[in-house]
Protein backbone atom coordinates (compact mmCIF):
# COMPACT_ATOMS: atom_id res chain seq x y z
CA UNK A 1 0.00 0.00 0.00
CA UNK A 2 2.86 2.36 0.79
CA UNK A 3 4.43 1.78 -2.63
CA UNK A 4 1.15 2.69 -4.29
CA UNK A 5 1.00 5.89 -2.27
CA UNK A 6 4.55 6.74 -3.37
CA UNK A 7 3.81 6.23 -7.06
CA UNK A 8 0.77 8.37 -6.58
CA UNK A 9 2.93 11.10 -5.11
CA UNK A 10 5.26 10.95 -8.12
CA UNK A 11 2.41 10.83 -10.55
CA UNK A 12 0.72 13.94 -9.27
CA UNK A 13 3.46 16.47 -8.48
CA UNK A 14 1.19 19.43 -8.92
CA UNK A 15 -1.02 18.61 -5.95
CA UNK A 16 -0.13 21.29 -3.45
CA UNK A 17 -0.03 19.80 0.08
CA UNK A 18 2.59 17.08 -0.24
CA UNK A 19 4.76 16.94 2.85
CA UNK A 20 7.06 13.97 2.27
CA UNK A 21 5.72 10.47 2.75
CA UNK A 22 3.60 11.37 5.79
CA UNK A 23 0.68 13.23 4.32
CA UNK A 24 -1.93 15.00 6.37
CA UNK A 25 -5.10 12.92 6.46
CA UNK A 26 -7.35 15.26 4.35
CA UNK A 27 -4.64 15.60 1.68
CA UNK A 28 -4.14 11.83 1.54
CA UNK A 29 -7.88 11.42 1.19
CA UNK A 30 -7.93 13.96 -1.60
CA UNK A 31 -5.04 12.26 -3.37
CA UNK A 32 -6.78 8.91 -3.12
CA UNK A 33 -9.95 10.40 -4.51
CA UNK A 34 -8.00 12.05 -7.36
CA UNK A 35 -6.24 8.75 -8.02
CA UNK A 36 -9.54 6.95 -8.15
CA UNK A 37 -10.89 9.64 -10.48
CA UNK A 38 -7.83 9.37 -12.71
CA UNK A 39 -8.10 5.59 -12.87
CA UNK A 40 -11.74 5.79 -13.86
CA UNK A 41 -11.49 8.59 -16.42
CA UNK A 42 -7.76 8.47 -17.00
CA UNK A 43 -7.71 9.75 -20.56
CA UNK A 44 -10.08 12.64 -19.97
CA UNK A 45 -8.26 13.48 -16.76
CA UNK A 46 -4.90 13.59 -18.48
CA UNK A 47 -6.22 15.75 -21.31
CA UNK A 48 -7.73 18.17 -18.81
CA UNK A 49 -4.45 18.16 -16.88
CA UNK A 50 -2.43 18.89 -20.06
CA UNK A 51 -4.78 21.68 -21.13
CA UNK A 52 -4.79 23.20 -17.66
CA UNK A 53 -1.01 23.01 -17.43
CA UNK A 54 -0.62 24.59 -20.87
CA UNK A 55 -3.07 27.42 -20.32
CA UNK A 56 -1.93 28.16 -16.78
CA UNK A 57 1.81 28.02 -17.38
CA UNK A 58 1.52 29.87 -20.69
CA UNK A 59 -0.49 32.76 -19.27
CA UNK A 60 1.54 33.06 -16.09
CA UNK A 61 4.86 33.03 -17.97
CA UNK A 62 3.57 35.58 -20.51
CA UNK A 63 2.43 37.83 -17.67
CA UNK A 64 5.78 37.46 -15.93
CA UNK A 65 7.80 38.19 -19.07
CA UNK A 66 5.88 41.35 -19.98
CA UNK A 67 5.75 42.83 -16.48
CA UNK A 68 8.28 45.47 -15.52
CA UNK A 69 11.45 45.83 -17.53
CA UNK A 70 12.11 44.83 -21.11
CA UNK A 71 13.41 41.26 -21.06
CA UNK A 72 15.64 41.44 -24.15
CA UNK A 73 17.70 43.90 -26.15
CA UNK A 74 19.37 45.67 -23.23
CA UNK A 75 22.82 47.21 -23.64
CA UNK A 76 24.60 47.30 -20.29
CA UNK A 77 27.49 49.71 -19.75
CA UNK A 78 28.73 49.69 -16.17
CA UNK A 79 25.66 50.23 -13.96
CA UNK A 80 23.65 51.74 -16.82
CA UNK A 81 21.33 49.83 -19.12
CA UNK A 82 19.76 51.13 -22.31
CA UNK A 83 17.12 49.57 -24.54
CA UNK A 84 17.81 51.42 -27.78
CA UNK A 85 15.32 49.42 -29.82
CA UNK A 86 12.45 49.54 -27.30
CA UNK A 87 10.69 52.40 -29.05
CA UNK A 88 11.55 51.52 -32.63
CA UNK A 89 9.21 49.88 -35.08
CA UNK A 90 11.47 46.82 -35.14
CA UNK A 91 11.20 46.32 -31.39
CA UNK A 92 10.89 42.73 -30.24
CA UNK A 93 7.40 41.45 -29.33
CA UNK A 94 8.19 41.45 -25.63
CA UNK A 95 9.19 45.12 -25.65
CA UNK A 96 6.02 45.96 -27.56
CA UNK A 97 3.91 44.01 -25.06
CA UNK A 98 5.62 45.73 -22.11
CA UNK A 99 4.99 49.15 -23.70
CA UNK A 100 1.36 48.28 -24.41
CA UNK A 101 0.71 47.11 -20.87
CA UNK A 102 2.31 50.12 -19.23
CA UNK A 103 1.06 52.71 -21.71
CA UNK A 104 4.66 53.77 -22.17
CA UNK A 105 5.77 56.00 -25.04
CA UNK A 106 9.49 55.28 -25.32
CA UNK A 107 11.90 57.72 -26.90
CA UNK A 108 12.32 57.12 -30.63
CA UNK A 109 15.82 56.57 -31.98
CA UNK A 110 15.96 60.07 -33.49
CA UNK A 111 14.74 61.70 -30.28
CA UNK A 112 17.05 60.35 -27.65
CA UNK A 113 18.07 57.50 -25.46
CA UNK A 114 17.06 56.43 -21.97
CA UNK A 115 19.65 54.82 -19.72
CA UNK A 116 18.56 53.51 -16.35
CA UNK A 117 20.49 52.25 -13.37
CA UNK A 118 19.35 50.34 -10.29
CA UNK A 119 22.78 49.54 -8.88
CA UNK A 120 25.99 51.41 -8.15
CA UNK A 121 29.31 50.73 -9.87
CA UNK A 122 30.07 47.75 -7.62
CA UNK A 123 26.69 46.14 -8.31
CA UNK A 124 24.97 46.90 -4.99
CA UNK A 125 21.37 48.05 -5.31
CA UNK A 126 20.60 51.75 -4.92
CA UNK A 127 18.93 52.46 -1.58
CA UNK A 128 17.14 55.59 -0.45
CA UNK A 129 18.91 55.60 2.91
CA UNK A 130 22.38 55.89 1.37
CA UNK A 131 24.41 58.73 -0.07
CA UNK A 132 25.69 58.42 -3.61
CA UNK A 133 27.83 60.48 -5.89
CA UNK A 134 26.94 60.43 -9.58
CA UNK A 135 29.94 62.00 -11.24
CA UNK A 136 31.72 62.20 -14.53
CA UNK A 137 30.74 62.98 -18.08
CA UNK A 138 27.78 62.22 -20.29
CA UNK A 139 27.89 61.13 -23.92
CA UNK A 140 27.41 63.91 -26.48
CA UNK A 141 23.83 65.14 -26.46
CA UNK A 142 22.04 68.42 -26.98
CA UNK A 143 20.43 68.13 -23.59
CA UNK A 144 20.19 65.54 -20.90
CA UNK A 145 18.23 65.01 -17.72
CA UNK A 146 19.06 62.80 -14.78
CA UNK A 147 16.14 61.84 -12.55
CA UNK A 148 15.63 59.61 -9.57
CA UNK A 149 12.49 57.64 -8.83
CA UNK A 150 11.68 55.53 -5.82
CA UNK A 151 9.51 52.48 -5.66
CA UNK A 152 5.93 53.01 -4.58
CA UNK A 153 4.08 56.21 -3.80
CA UNK A 154 6.09 59.23 -2.70
CA UNK A 155 6.20 60.03 0.99
CA UNK A 156 3.63 62.82 1.58
CA UNK A 157 5.54 64.08 4.61
CA UNK A 158 8.57 64.92 2.47
CA UNK A 159 8.20 67.95 0.22
CA UNK A 160 9.29 67.14 -3.30
CA UNK A 161 12.07 69.63 -3.82
CA UNK A 162 13.35 68.27 -7.08
CA UNK A 163 13.41 64.90 -8.76
CA UNK A 164 16.16 65.52 -11.25
CA UNK A 165 18.71 67.76 -12.90
CA UNK A 166 18.90 68.96 -16.46
CA UNK A 167 22.16 69.61 -18.28
CA UNK A 168 21.54 73.36 -18.05
CA UNK A 169 20.85 73.44 -14.32
CA UNK A 170 23.87 71.52 -13.20
CA UNK A 171 26.90 73.14 -11.57
CA UNK A 172 30.09 71.92 -13.18
CA UNK A 173 33.74 71.67 -12.25
CA UNK A 174 36.31 73.68 -14.13
CA UNK A 175 37.05 70.78 -16.49
CA UNK A 176 33.42 70.26 -17.46
CA UNK A 177 32.82 67.32 -15.17
CA UNK A 178 29.92 67.33 -12.76
CA UNK A 179 29.08 65.58 -9.52
CA UNK A 180 25.53 65.03 -8.29
CA UNK A 181 25.05 64.03 -4.66
CA UNK A 182 22.03 61.79 -4.12
CA UNK A 183 21.27 61.81 -0.41
CA UNK A 184 18.33 62.05 2.00
CA UNK A 185 19.82 65.11 3.73
CA UNK A 186 20.88 68.39 2.19
CA UNK A 187 24.36 68.44 0.68
CA UNK A 188 26.56 71.16 -0.75
CA UNK A 189 26.74 71.30 -4.52
CA UNK A 190 24.33 69.48 -6.81
CA UNK A 191 22.09 67.88 -4.22
CA UNK A 192 19.48 65.47 -5.50
CA UNK A 193 17.12 64.60 -2.63
CA UNK A 194 16.22 60.94 -2.23
CA UNK A 195 12.50 60.44 -2.84
CA UNK A 196 11.97 58.53 0.39
CA UNK A 197 13.61 57.37 3.60
CA UNK A 198 13.99 53.76 2.53
CA UNK A 199 13.45 51.49 -0.41
CA UNK A 200 15.04 50.83 -3.77
CA UNK A 201 15.86 53.67 -6.13
CA UNK A 202 16.20 53.91 -9.87
CA UNK A 203 18.18 56.51 -11.78
CA UNK A 204 17.21 57.51 -15.30
CA UNK A 205 19.59 59.36 -17.59
CA UNK A 206 17.83 60.64 -20.69
CA UNK A 207 19.98 61.91 -23.53
CA UNK A 208 18.08 64.07 -26.01
CA UNK A 209 19.10 64.45 -29.63
CA UNK A 210 22.16 62.29 -29.25
CA UNK A 211 24.18 60.42 -31.87
CA UNK A 212 24.58 57.63 -29.32
CA UNK A 213 20.99 56.48 -29.85
CA UNK A 214 21.80 55.33 -33.37
CA UNK A 215 24.73 53.21 -32.26
CA UNK A 216 25.13 52.23 -28.65
CA UNK A 217 28.50 50.68 -29.47
CA UNK A 218 30.14 54.03 -28.76
CA UNK A 219 29.05 53.89 -25.13
CA UNK A 220 31.67 52.89 -22.62
CA UNK A 221 31.83 53.35 -18.84
CA UNK A 222 34.23 56.30 -19.23
CA UNK A 223 31.61 58.38 -21.05
CA UNK A 224 28.85 57.71 -18.53
CA UNK A 225 28.63 59.06 -14.99
CA UNK A 226 29.99 56.75 -12.31
CA UNK A 227 27.71 55.91 -9.38
CA UNK A 228 29.66 55.58 -6.12
CA UNK A 229 28.21 54.81 -2.71
CA UNK A 230 29.58 57.23 -0.14
CA UNK A 231 27.93 55.82 2.94
CA UNK A 232 24.68 54.74 4.52
CA UNK A 233 22.68 55.82 7.53
CA UNK A 234 22.88 59.09 9.39
Amino acid sequence: MTSVAETDAIRAPARPPRTGTRMPVPAAGLARRVRAFLRKTSRVGLVVYALGLGAGLGLVSADWATRGRYPFGGVTVGPWTAWPRAGASNADPYARAVNARRGEIPLAVGEGLLLSATTDDTGRGLEAGCRYSIAGHTPPARAWTLTVTGRGAPDPARPSLRSGFTSTEILRERDGRFAILLAPEAQAGNWLPSPGRSGALRLALRLYDTPVAAGTGSLDPETLPAITRLGCGA
Binding site: T7, I10, R11, S42, L46, V47, Y49, A50, L51, G52, L53, G54, A55, G56, L57, G58, L59, S61, A62, D63, A65, T66, G87, A88, S89, N90, A91, P93, Y94, R96, A97, N99, A100, R101, R102, G103, E104, I105, P106, L107, A108, V109, G110, E111, G112, R142, A143, T145, T147, T149, S163, G164, T166, S167, T168, E169, A204, R206, Y208, D209
Partner: protein, 195 residues
Protein backbone atom coordinates in the same frame (compact mmCIF):
# COMPACT_ATOMS: atom_id res chain seq x y z
CA UNK B 1 0.36 4.96 -16.36
CA UNK B 2 3.41 7.01 -15.39
CA UNK B 3 4.52 7.19 -19.03
CA UNK B 4 1.15 8.57 -20.02
CA UNK B 5 1.39 11.14 -17.30
CA UNK B 6 4.81 12.23 -18.58
CA UNK B 7 3.38 12.39 -22.06
CA UNK B 8 0.50 14.58 -20.85
CA UNK B 9 2.98 16.85 -19.04
CA UNK B 10 5.06 17.18 -22.19
CA UNK B 11 1.96 18.07 -24.20
CA UNK B 12 1.05 20.60 -21.53
CA UNK B 13 4.48 22.24 -21.72
CA UNK B 14 4.34 22.50 -25.52
CA UNK B 15 0.87 23.97 -25.20
CA UNK B 16 2.19 26.40 -22.57
CA UNK B 17 4.81 27.59 -25.05
CA UNK B 18 2.18 28.19 -27.70
CA UNK B 19 -0.11 30.01 -25.27
CA UNK B 20 2.85 32.12 -24.12
CA UNK B 21 3.77 33.20 -27.66
CA UNK B 22 0.16 33.92 -28.65
CA UNK B 23 -0.43 35.92 -25.46
CA UNK B 24 2.69 38.06 -25.88
CA UNK B 25 1.80 38.80 -29.50
CA UNK B 26 -1.83 39.53 -28.62
CA UNK B 27 -1.15 41.96 -25.74
CA UNK B 28 -0.40 45.01 -27.97
CA UNK B 29 -3.47 44.28 -30.10
CA UNK B 30 -5.89 43.78 -27.22
CA UNK B 31 -4.49 46.26 -24.72
CA UNK B 32 -6.73 49.17 -23.80
CA UNK B 33 -4.07 50.82 -21.68
CA UNK B 34 -1.52 51.31 -24.45
CA UNK B 35 -0.53 54.70 -25.75
CA UNK B 36 -2.39 54.37 -29.04
CA UNK B 37 -5.74 53.56 -27.42
CA UNK B 38 -5.35 56.35 -24.90
CA UNK B 39 -4.23 58.86 -27.51
CA UNK B 40 -7.45 58.24 -29.46
CA UNK B 41 -9.16 60.82 -27.30
CA UNK B 42 -7.18 63.57 -29.03
CA UNK B 43 -8.39 62.74 -32.54
CA UNK B 44 -10.97 65.50 -32.67
CA UNK B 45 -8.59 68.18 -31.37
CA UNK B 46 -6.47 70.36 -33.61
CA UNK B 47 -3.74 70.71 -31.01
CA UNK B 48 -1.91 68.06 -29.01
CA UNK B 49 -3.63 66.49 -26.06
CA UNK B 50 -1.55 67.12 -22.97
CA UNK B 51 -0.04 63.95 -21.67
CA UNK B 52 2.46 65.32 -19.29
CA UNK B 53 2.30 68.91 -18.16
CA UNK B 54 5.25 70.28 -16.27
CA UNK B 55 4.41 71.51 -12.83
CA UNK B 56 4.68 75.25 -12.46
CA UNK B 57 3.73 77.65 -9.73
CA UNK B 58 0.26 78.15 -11.25
CA UNK B 59 -0.35 74.53 -12.15
CA UNK B 60 0.93 72.27 -9.41
CA UNK B 61 0.74 68.58 -10.25
CA UNK B 62 -0.56 67.14 -13.50
CA UNK B 63 -3.56 65.01 -12.66
CA UNK B 64 -4.32 63.72 -16.12
CA UNK B 65 -0.92 62.14 -16.70
CA UNK B 66 -0.98 58.43 -17.31
CA UNK B 67 2.59 58.08 -18.45
CA UNK B 68 4.32 55.58 -16.16
CA UNK B 69 7.78 57.15 -16.06
CA UNK B 70 7.67 60.72 -17.31
CA UNK B 71 10.68 62.98 -17.47
CA UNK B 72 9.97 65.82 -15.01
CA UNK B 73 11.65 68.33 -17.33
CA UNK B 74 9.89 67.43 -20.58
CA UNK B 75 6.37 68.47 -21.52
CA UNK B 76 4.67 65.89 -23.69
CA UNK B 77 1.64 66.12 -25.93
CA UNK B 78 0.11 63.66 -28.34
CA UNK B 79 -1.99 63.89 -31.51
CA UNK B 80 -3.73 60.77 -32.75
CA UNK B 81 -4.37 60.34 -36.45
CA UNK B 82 -6.43 58.14 -38.68
CA UNK B 83 -5.22 58.45 -42.25
CA UNK B 84 -8.64 57.43 -43.57
CA UNK B 85 -9.69 61.01 -42.81
CA UNK B 86 -6.82 62.42 -44.85
CA UNK B 87 -3.13 63.19 -44.38
CA UNK B 88 -2.10 64.46 -40.98
CA UNK B 89 -0.18 67.74 -40.84
CA UNK B 90 1.76 68.60 -37.70
CA UNK B 91 3.09 72.15 -37.73
CA UNK B 92 5.46 73.42 -35.10
CA UNK B 93 7.20 76.78 -34.70
CA UNK B 94 10.60 76.42 -33.17
CA UNK B 95 11.46 78.53 -30.19
CA UNK B 96 14.22 78.74 -27.68
CA UNK B 97 13.45 75.31 -26.32
CA UNK B 98 14.32 72.01 -27.83
CA UNK B 99 11.36 70.34 -29.49
CA UNK B 100 11.06 66.92 -31.02
CA UNK B 101 8.29 65.22 -32.95
CA UNK B 102 8.00 61.45 -33.25
CA UNK B 103 5.50 59.50 -35.30
CA UNK B 104 4.37 56.24 -33.74
CA UNK B 105 2.41 53.39 -35.27
CA UNK B 106 1.10 50.36 -33.50
CA UNK B 107 4.48 48.68 -33.84
CA UNK B 108 6.47 51.59 -32.47
CA UNK B 109 8.05 54.85 -33.58
CA UNK B 110 8.78 54.99 -37.29
CA UNK B 111 10.03 58.55 -37.60
CA UNK B 112 11.42 61.24 -35.37
CA UNK B 113 12.60 64.74 -36.10
CA UNK B 114 13.90 67.52 -33.88
CA UNK B 115 13.71 71.27 -34.30
CA UNK B 116 17.19 71.23 -35.82
CA UNK B 117 15.55 70.09 -39.05
CA UNK B 118 13.32 73.16 -39.13
CA UNK B 119 13.39 75.44 -42.15
CA UNK B 120 13.07 79.14 -41.27
CA UNK B 121 11.75 78.35 -37.83
CA UNK B 122 8.95 76.11 -39.05
CA UNK B 123 8.72 72.37 -38.95
CA UNK B 124 5.95 70.78 -41.00
CA UNK B 125 5.54 67.05 -40.74
CA UNK B 126 2.95 65.45 -43.00
CA UNK B 127 2.05 61.83 -42.38
CA UNK B 128 0.29 60.07 -45.25
CA UNK B 129 -0.38 56.72 -46.80
CA UNK B 130 1.43 55.60 -49.95
CA UNK B 131 -1.54 56.63 -52.13
CA UNK B 132 -1.82 60.05 -50.50
CA UNK B 133 1.93 60.51 -50.93
CA UNK B 134 1.74 59.82 -54.66
CA UNK B 135 -1.19 62.21 -54.92
CA UNK B 136 0.71 64.94 -53.12
CA UNK B 137 3.69 64.45 -55.43
CA UNK B 138 1.48 64.63 -58.50
CA UNK B 139 -0.28 67.80 -57.35
CA UNK B 140 2.90 69.58 -56.38
CA UNK B 141 3.79 72.81 -58.13
CA UNK B 142 7.27 72.41 -59.58
CA UNK B 143 8.10 76.09 -59.24
CA UNK B 144 7.20 76.12 -55.61
CA UNK B 145 8.54 72.99 -53.97
CA UNK B 146 6.95 72.12 -50.68
CA UNK B 147 8.99 72.36 -47.50
CA UNK B 148 6.95 69.69 -45.80
CA UNK B 149 8.63 66.65 -44.37
CA UNK B 150 6.50 63.88 -45.88
CA UNK B 151 6.45 60.52 -44.13
CA UNK B 152 4.64 57.45 -45.38
CA UNK B 153 3.08 55.71 -42.42
CA UNK B 154 3.18 51.92 -42.20
CA UNK B 155 -0.34 51.80 -40.74
CA UNK B 156 -3.43 53.94 -41.01
CA UNK B 157 -3.67 54.65 -37.32
CA UNK B 158 -1.07 56.05 -34.99
CA UNK B 159 -0.09 59.13 -33.07
CA UNK B 160 2.51 61.87 -33.07
CA UNK B 161 4.22 62.88 -29.87
CA UNK B 162 5.48 66.39 -29.18
CA UNK B 163 8.23 66.73 -26.60
CA UNK B 164 9.52 70.09 -25.40
CA UNK B 165 12.38 70.21 -22.93
CA UNK B 166 12.38 72.84 -20.21
CA UNK B 167 16.06 73.24 -19.40
CA UNK B 168 15.30 75.44 -16.40
CA UNK B 169 12.30 75.47 -14.05
CA UNK B 170 11.46 78.99 -15.23
CA UNK B 171 10.93 77.65 -18.76
CA UNK B 172 8.33 75.10 -17.74
CA UNK B 173 5.31 77.27 -18.44
CA UNK B 174 6.76 78.15 -21.83
CA UNK B 175 7.35 74.46 -22.55
CA UNK B 176 3.73 73.64 -21.75
CA UNK B 177 2.62 76.41 -24.06
CA UNK B 178 4.98 75.29 -26.80
CA UNK B 179 3.36 71.86 -26.78
CA UNK B 180 -0.08 73.41 -27.04
CA UNK B 181 1.07 75.73 -29.84
CA UNK B 182 1.79 72.84 -32.17
CA UNK B 183 -1.10 72.28 -34.54
CA UNK B 184 -2.29 68.89 -35.73
CA UNK B 185 -4.70 69.22 -38.62
CA UNK B 186 -6.10 66.98 -41.28
CA UNK B 187 -4.73 68.08 -44.62
CA UNK B 188 -7.46 68.22 -47.24
CA UNK B 189 -6.16 69.99 -50.36
CA UNK B 190 -9.56 69.86 -52.04
CA UNK B 191 -10.99 72.27 -49.47
CA UNK B 192 -8.27 74.85 -50.00
CA UNK B 193 -9.38 77.74 -52.18
CA UNK B 194 -7.82 78.28 -55.57
CA UNK B 195 -6.83 74.66 -56.22
Amino acid sequence: MRLRFLYATLCGLVLAGLVHIVTVLAIPLLSEADALSRARGSETLDHPQRLYTLSTADEPAPAEAWLPTPDPAVALGVCAYDLDDGPMRVSARTGAQMLSLAAHGRRGAFYAVTDQAAVRGALDLVILTRTQYDEALANEDENEPSRDVRIVAPERQGFVTVRVIAALPSQRAAANEAVQAVSCTIDSPSEEPGK
